[in-house]
């Protein structure tokens, strides 16, 4: 098992959740989302975001509209749909559960480590 592969899989699993979280704060176009995700170190390659957005849109979690931009052609602004909001709500609660269980294990793991040291 490759550590880099494992890491990127973990990150990828979180990416959709984080994109939905970002869009819950307000509508955004792809480049804005990319900037945020890059700031959070969630994506390395920008291209990964586009198939993900399209899939979320085709699954009915997102919708988009065209909006004029001050520079260049119109932009595609994404926003959450109603089912997107519900989906995000479920993801959030399951994230909190997951966080709790992982933290629980992590704490006992950390305690063990300090004991060894």
């Amino acid at each position: 098992m490759n550590i880099e592969n494992m890491k990127s899989q973990m990150r990828k699993g979180m990416l959709e959740f984080c994109v939905l979280l970002q869009l819950a704060k307000g509508d955004a176009y792809a480049s804005e989302i990319i900037t945020k995700m890059k700031e959070a170190h969630l994506i390395v390659m920008e291209g990964t975001l586009y198939p993900l957005l399209t899939r979320l849109k085709n699954d009915g979690l997102l919708c988009y509209r065209w909006e004029e931009s001050p520079s260049g052609p119109p932009r595609k602004y994404y926003s959450l749909t109603q089912s997107g909001r519900e989906f995000l709500f479920h993801l959030e609660s399951s994230w909190h559960e997951l966080e709790k269980s992982v933290n629980h294990l992590l704490q006992s793991h950390d305690n063990q480590n300090t004991e060894i040291q």
Binding site: K12, M45, S71, G72
Partner: protein, 341 residues
């Protein structure tokens, strides 16, 4: 000095270097392949608009042209098609079936070898590049194959192998674009290899044709080597002889058949020792021969004198006629020995 193209990327016009353009085109093509059809068009469209943003930033910074380095850097930021394809399948809504995962974990990590494709090698050619291509495909030596072919051709009284060569020449496509050349060598066609081949070409200081087009505006004649031209000149002479021979034959047999059909006189036929059926088939045969001669001469002229206007269609006609001629010859020789006639 480099040639530049004007490219419309998502509604904005960019000046882009030729090599950069090629790399970008390959990149987009590969993205299309990676993401499939229905969704793919939309995804690639979105990515294109991002590319426009990246390039627009570049030109706003004062750059007047997009160079190879800009495209490479953009691909570095966006991710190579292989990476994106992997990411796409990993985070896909459908989890991969268990067996597949098992196989991947247990099986030896064997990198998929790109398949070689058979093309005519336009960089290694004497005539049409058939043997250059075959040699590249099979990994043999082209010169040895050519020598062997010449020997075999002489041993088999020319026609069969010459026809085989011409057929192969028609059927096997020429490796014209960079993508085809890479496929011919069995190198993977991806952003890395195209980028590398662009570099190789520019390192050759213009020895390689920059846009990878051999069969281009210069026309058909460029596709032939010196030996090819000599061979075609011979073909032209043979064609001329065929025309002369067949014209005489058409007149003689035509006169005999017309005499029989119109006047009812079988004298000419009788002197030739033929009946009307055989004479008519011979007439058909020599008419085909006449057409064959004309197309051979025309074909040769287009190559030797660089005349315009001939192409695959003419080659096809010539070869079809040649096959008819050969077939007719065989049928006639069988009929001629038949006592029924």
């Amino acid at each position: 000095m480099k040639r530049t193209f004007t490219a419309n990327i998502d509604g904005q016009i960019f000046n882009i270097d030729e090599d950069a353009y090629q790399l970008l085109q390959t990149y987009l093509e590969q993205l299309h392949q990676t993401f499939g059809n229905a969704e793919g068009a939309e995804i690639v469209g979105d990515i294109e608009s991002r590319i426009r943003e990246i390039f627009a930033e570049k030109t706003r910074g004062g750059a007047s042209v997009i160079v190879l380095d800009d495209v490479s850097r953009m691909i570095g930021t966006m991710g190579s098609p292989a990476d994106l394809g992997e990411a796409n399948s990993l985070s896909g809504s459908v989890p991969p079936p268990m067996e597949e995962v098992d196989v991947e974990v247990c099986g030896a990590p064997e990198p998929r070898k790109p398949q070689k494709k058979l093309y005519r090698n336009m960089q290694n050619k004497m005539f049409g590049g058939v043997f250059g291509g075959l040699a590249t495909y099979l990994g043999w030596n082209a010169t040895i194959m050519r020598l062997l072919y010449v020997v075999l051709t002489v041993c088999t009284y020319f026609w069969p192998l010459v026809a085989a060569y011409l057929l192969a020449w028609m059927i096997i496509p020429a490796a014209v674009t960079r993508r085809q050349r890479l496929q011919m060598m069995g190198r993977p066609v991806n952003v890395e290899s195209v980028g590398q081949s662009v570099m190789e070409d520019s390192n050759m200081c213009g020895l390689g044709d920059p846009d990878g087009v051999v069969d281009g505006a210069g026309g058909w004649a460029e596709a032939f080597g010196i030996i090819g031209k000599i061979v075609m000149a011979t073909v032209g002479i043979i064609g001329t002889l065929i025309i002369i021979g067949c014209s005489v034959a058409v007149m003689v047999f035509g006169a005999a058949v017309v005499a029989y059909a119109v006047i009812g006189s079988g004298v000419m036929l009788a002197t030739m020792g033929m009946n009307i059926y055989l004479a008519s088939s011979v007439l058909m045969f020599v008419l085909f021969g006449l057409l064959l001669g004309i197309s051979l001469v025309w074909l040769a002229a287009t190559v030797v004198f660089r005349a315009r206007g001939a192409g695959k269609a003419l080659t096809v006609t010539a070869i079809v006629l040649m096959l008819l001629f050969l077939g007719g010859g065989i049928v006639l020789s069988i009929l001629g020995q038949n006592p029924m006639f």
